[in-house]
Symmetry: C2
Subunit: 443 residues, 2 copies
Amino acid sequence: MSQITSGGMVNAYVPGASTAVTAEEATLISRRQKLLGTAYRLFYEHPVHVVRGEGCWLYGGNGEAYLDVYNNVASVGHCHPHVITALARQASILNTHTRYLHDTILEYAERLLATLPAELGRVMFTCTGSEANDLALRVARSATGGEGVIVTSLAYHGVTSAVAEFSPSLGRQVPLGRHVRTVPAPDGYRGDGDVGRAFAAGVRAALDDLTRHGIKPAAMFCDTIFSSDGVFADPPGFMAEAVAAVQAAGALFVADEVQPGFGRTGHGMWGFERHGIVPDLVTVGKPMGNGHPVAGVFGRADLIDEFGRNTRYFNTFGGNPVSCQVGMAVLDVIEREGLIANARDVGSDMRDRFRELGQRYPVIGDVRGTGLFTGVELVKDRTTKAPDPETTTRLVNGLRERRVLISATGPHANILKVRPPLVFGRKETDVLMAAVAETLAAL
Amino acid sequence: MSQITSGGMVNAYVPGASTAVTAEEATLISRRQKLLGTAYRLFYEHPVHVVRGEGCWLYGGNGEAYLDVYNNVASVGHCHPHVITALARQASILNTHTRYLHDTILEYAERLLATLPAELGRVMFTCTGSEANDLALRVARSATGGEGVIVTSLAYHGVTSAVAEFSPSLGRQVPLGRHVRTVPAPDGYRGDGDVGRAFAAGVRAALDDLTRHGIKPAAMFCDTIFSSDGVFADPPGFMAEAVAAVQAAGALFVADEVQPGFGRTGHGMWGFERHGIVPDLVTVGKPMGNGHPVAGVFGRADLIDEFGRNTRYFNTFGGNPVSCQVGMAVLDVIEREGLIANARDVGSDMRDRFRELGQRYPVIGDVRGTGLFTGVELVKDRTTKAPDPETTTRLVNGLRERRVLISATGPHANILKVRPPLVFGRKETDVLMAAVAETLAAL
């Protein structure tokens, strides 16, 4: 299993697992180990060396093109000229902190808040999604006086000390906090019956358990597309009952939109919208600056203001004019290029084509998702639904050899995580599907 | 006192404290409150509205020039063309994460590690100094199996949940962790006798106290210029005995170089160098990317590798090629423009001139620092050394009215924190000293 989950990481490079590594690559790998240490893990049996990116494509040193079907950070496409122009222009004019007045942060805040329900009236800027979730935790604790945190059983919310304590996907070596409870993910493929009801029952049990241990619940954090748990999107609305239970218990619901946010789900800007819920706090990151480190927390005015009155919080780089101009350029591209509709249509077409392929390959047990976030679950047997991580690993690495980059997820590492830039089109889908079919045929 | 420390913050804008705020500024301030909430505090009785930066200067909307004597982030000067060129070029070529091989991160890591003692063999990249200190905490806990943290009594190390717990300068509203002990800062002005011995005695007492409470010490974190405690630099070497005590107790010493690092102290790249010590971990941030969000942890190879083997840590934006090229451009400028020598010479001259001014103004109780980090302590009486925060506030705001930007620090908010970009020269020192003299004369 070490090639499937190395140190708790799916699809990690394991030294010696491939004979395809060139001498030049081996030198780079050994320099990395020597300079950056063991935490810096690579993807694939045969790691990919990239030197250039454009749109949905990454390029190696000899001009070889890799189709990027995995990158949700370069969300409007690698090196989008509109974003780079905004970055370079503002960097040459002014880049300073928020202790001085400047207009850009206000303009950006207005544009962001206009995409959100009226209940969410404030934004605070950070640099990373981890910082955003860490700040949301602080706000939730301040607002509720509670400590308890509820997450799904394979959730990932970030890497600060406090957030890693409620990120069970980091594995057994990173212990959960004693104030943390996990609930089963809303798995409509493996679960029986009503997903929403089952999910809410888990959440109610977790609330009860916290209370019985004398721990006041502060918040439930959910990635609203449940990326690391295995990609669970349907039916829309299934989160509502669980969220209502959390709020009824006096705790906050934090929608972690770092993965689903900024149009990826193909239905509006935010993953929570599909569920008809209004979070108390929303955290955002990765695609927000198309690779530039910008992230943030949106929240109810009363919660953010109460926190701000009592607590000094200042993020040196957070909300600087360069980050804000970059963020606005990303919003421009999402709007101008119609990327939400594109995510909806291209994603839907892609899932249809995976399902078609499933008619020939019974290893494809389930195809699910929304917009340009698709999970394809591989099983040994469609009746028992026994996970097939070995085939998943061979497929992911076979695609890499065909220069198509994706990865896998889920508790058994048997779910393809198909998550391309939002500018992915039909042409790129053709390339992807041809490579998947070819790889499956060759297995 | 509310104008001196608002919500624990020195030099914060308090609504209504000044009649100089224009209608346009008032509108901006009220939009900020409405969009960003109460945590977003401004500097000065009359906040500054900036639209452009260049070198040591910030500019308002009507072209009015403010001399920036406070910004240690835009360390090689606002909008330095070499840094912007590197940023724009790499952003147009490739910006992706570290799960793929690319060369830039290795080149940057080599250049950084070449500035450090041989014992520090690894670098891990984050986006902010808070993330760097949070990661250093995780490494220290992993390495020692301990939990306890020692910091100085008014230390600031960052704003993640875990780091805020050992940042007493955030004020009473942000409680220290039960595993945290504070020690008196190494104050050579107010303290009696040997600074190093007194500091080490405090540290030994904290180690003992942790042990008596059954808490194994994990680390001592020190800002090696003690910025928030009041700027303590001399005599060089005074940290050595305390650091040896920490290491002898099996805990790690973490040098927080977010403030003193990258040449600010005028003696080599790092603040700890003046003390002849070798930290186990070093954290860096603010000036590293001249405003671009890049930060990191340098550490002993054994510590970083043990942590990396056991723990999954991945920072999405950390170490991306854009951040690394920006970081290298900053190193280029420090070298090419001789900024370490400049910091040494200009800083030394500036302190001489503050001391000269002290001959006329007895309110200047002490002038101290190293390189371009100067503390000027204002007192009501040179014998009793009674702090004079009121005069400090009037001086800081009087300078702002003369378009010279500095701030104050220390437990009594009576210490001018003079910390300009490293490109600050004699000409800028003339402007600063003339404004200080004029303001003092007018008080």
